[in-house]
Symmetry: C2
Subunit: 419 residues, 2 copies
């Protein structure tokens, strides 16, 4: 099977000048990878005719598939369409389907369709419109000298919607991409290099049609095993066999799911399945752990609530942490973390509770307890009480995020009975 090479071109000064974050190219790179298509170059150019024309000509020489995003809006700045039409040697003609989409879009919002808006229905002659259910600018698909050109609006949710609805299926069909399988293995509590060391022999022995990617985030590493083969059955069997070999090497303490779910979703599934509930008491993470837990749709089924006890008063008054403990051990100590977890567990009457207290920084560190020193405790209604101390880094924002991520894994281990 021939390798398909793609280039992604982003158009817009606001990206070049760093005024907005470009999330489109990452998404496209990832989606094309999942189809077995290799992105070999990404480029960003400004909103100027010559710049777009130049990059189009360059990419056409190198790639099988060229995807352009941005520069399709109704205003004069947005000229991708004109450049593309000239590049194809075509004129812009009105597409009736798109016109009816644009009209419907405005009518449903009780607004008039201006001439400027009607201009959105112009696409290069010979191009196929990729209709946009999420906004007004359509995408287009056109082939010139065996190279496929797709142009898309730059607004991320419109771009993604059009690609999911029309672009990706058309690419799959046109390039007859090989049969591809992906298997996600989610791990937590183990770093990338240690995990790599632990599974090194297995990885080296993988057959050539299987490849492994490490996708790390704060305290969790996602593994993605990708297989490409013409024989679907053989591929499926070999993938399954390799996963069965892999899991014992990772071990049950670090492996938590063979589907692409994060720790907060996994915890939600565990709690929902058994009808158990959760409460949280946070100090240095200031609500971020509760934010992660409640970012899961339906989390109100198991998360009753929690407290951010930023001051010692609140730790005493609301979580019943003894004043003597705060004075003797300090607010950042395993004993206080344990009292916080027990306090919220009893008060909110939940199956499980977790607490975090620490020094996020940049100030507040001491010699004994420097910035990044964090204590956590896990408590259960059955009487289990576990606490642990961590030393993270110096940056406030990272400390908050790493602490919350580590806490999720502690919570997972506690609920799974692995602490």
């Amino acid at each position: 099977m021939k390798e398909v090479h793609a280039e992604v071109i982003t158009i817009g000064d606001e990206i070049l000048f760093g005024q907005i974050t470009d999330t489109n190219t990452q998404w496209l790179g990832s989606e094309l990878s999942l189809l077995g298509i290799k992105v070999t170059r990404k480029s960003s150019v400004g909103d100027r005719y010559e710049e777009i024309q130049t990059i189009l000509n360059e990419a056409a020489q190198r790639a099988d598939l060229v995807i352009l995003t941005g520069g399709l809006g109704p205003t004069n700045d947005d000229i991708t369409k004109k450049v593309l039409a000239d590049f194809l040697g075509q004129s812009l003609i009105r597409n009736e389907e798109v016109l009816s989409d644009v009209t419907a879009f405005f009518v449903s919002r009780g607004r008039e369709v201006s001439d400027v808006n009607k201009g959105q229905a112009l696409i290069p002659e010979g191009a196929v419109a990729l209709r946009n259910q999420y906004g007004t600018a359509p995408g287009t698909w056109v082939i010139r000298e065996q190279v496929v050109f797709i142009s898309l609006p730059g607004v991320p949710h419109e771009m993604k919607g059009i690609m999911r609805d029309h672009g990706l299926p058309a690419i799959k069909k046109h390039f007859q991409t090989p049969f591809i399988l992906h298997q996600i293995i989610r791990t937590a509590g183990i770093g990338e290099s240690m995990l790599a060391e632990q599974i090194k022999d297995w990885e080296e022995a993988l057959p050539a049609f299987l490849s492994l990617a490490y996708l790390p985030s704060f305290s969790s590493v996602k593994l993605r095993l990708t297989g490409m083969h013409d024989d679907q059955q053989l591929l499926k069997q070999e993938m399954d066999r390799q996963v069965q070999l892999l899991l014992p090497l990772i071990g049950n303490k670090h492996f938590y799911a063979a589907t692409d779910i994060n720790l907060e979703e996994h915890i939600g599934i565990l709690l929902k399945a058994t009808g158990q509930t959760l409460s949280l008491a946070e100090s240095c993470t200031g609500g971020y752990l509760q934010h992660l837990i409640t970012s899961v749709p339906g989390s109100s089924a198991y998360f009753k609530g929690g407290i951010v006890s930023y001051s010692n008063d609140i730790k005493e008054q609301e979580l019943h942490v003894p004043k003597t403990l705060l004075e003797q051990k300090g607010a950042v100590s395993t004993k206080v973390a344990e009292a916080m977890a027990t306090g919220i567990l009893r008060k909110y009457k939940t199956s499980y509770a977790l607490s975090i207290t620490g020094i996020a920084g940049p100030d507040g560190g001491t010699k004994d307890k420097p910035v990044g020193f964090v204590c956590m405790a896990f408590a259960s209604a059955t009487g289990q009480l576990y606490s642990k101390t961590f030393q993270f880094g110096k940056e406030r924002d990272t400390n908050i995020k790493v602490s919350a991520s580590v806490a999720l894994n502690l919570l997972r281990l506690g609920i799974e009975g692995k602490l």
Copy 2:
């Protein structure tokens, strides 16, 4: 003054395949803009010799400044250095300063310096090392046929550190960039298009050496007025004059700071200055508002804490929201929001309190109160009580973030006495 054109080249398959988010190019684009240097193209290529060589040759034809990031680590994948040396027609030689940096880095961590690590000290002959205080791979600065080439490691905090310490000052000096002034105007509670409409006449009348950028985020628009002129005094005077004309057009309700601080920082400054305190009661935002407030270093001086009352039990038990109110008005109502704000204010004994209750989605919406329906209340120890209802969108994550952002502005207006 001649325009300086820059290109940024990112090297690494993990960026092309969408495995990691590239934040480097946005940061570089923004920093170069602030120096008056225009980024005219950004490119990403893979870790292959030929690809890097090709893009280097292309960029050298077009730009005055070429910045490469990535591909400088100690392993074999990272080959930027070799390509760059060959491109310059130089060999790699050992830089003693860098070697002592690398050695010190490992010694301070109690680790041996391996030969692979020592290899980090190799840089192209004739290049200037941009020393790295944050890791082991140095940057380099070299000029070839009047084009400046800077290569930097890909790890964001190392790349930024090296640029701040050495790269940006050297660029400023070498290109004798013109005198540039930036003035930030922070606004909240007004959308980009409405703001643009309101200040349109002023913007159109700006002299050619001043330009305005709109930098919008959730419910806040940052304006950046940039001026470039050889006459520093004239520029300063005209900038000040224009800002004085602009502020009344925005109005005190939407303008909150003429420095680059976000709402949570601004609220922190207001509270610290008057020794006042804050508590928060969140339902649908699940702790995200408390996370924003506590993301500010030193927030423990004014934020006592708060409650995430996800279940009605907790609203009743902890915030003393009357059961009859929950039954008659529903948990998402201005009356319940008011009771939550009053409840937390009294319990946590703070100067101000704010509450949020709403339907984040995707489930839980009704005909009267669809997904995105959110109520907020502001309460003060002096007896003020203000509540408001909002209708946001359909996406859970966006609803959480927009709600928190709008709540921060409500809090700001309350503290400033503008509600």
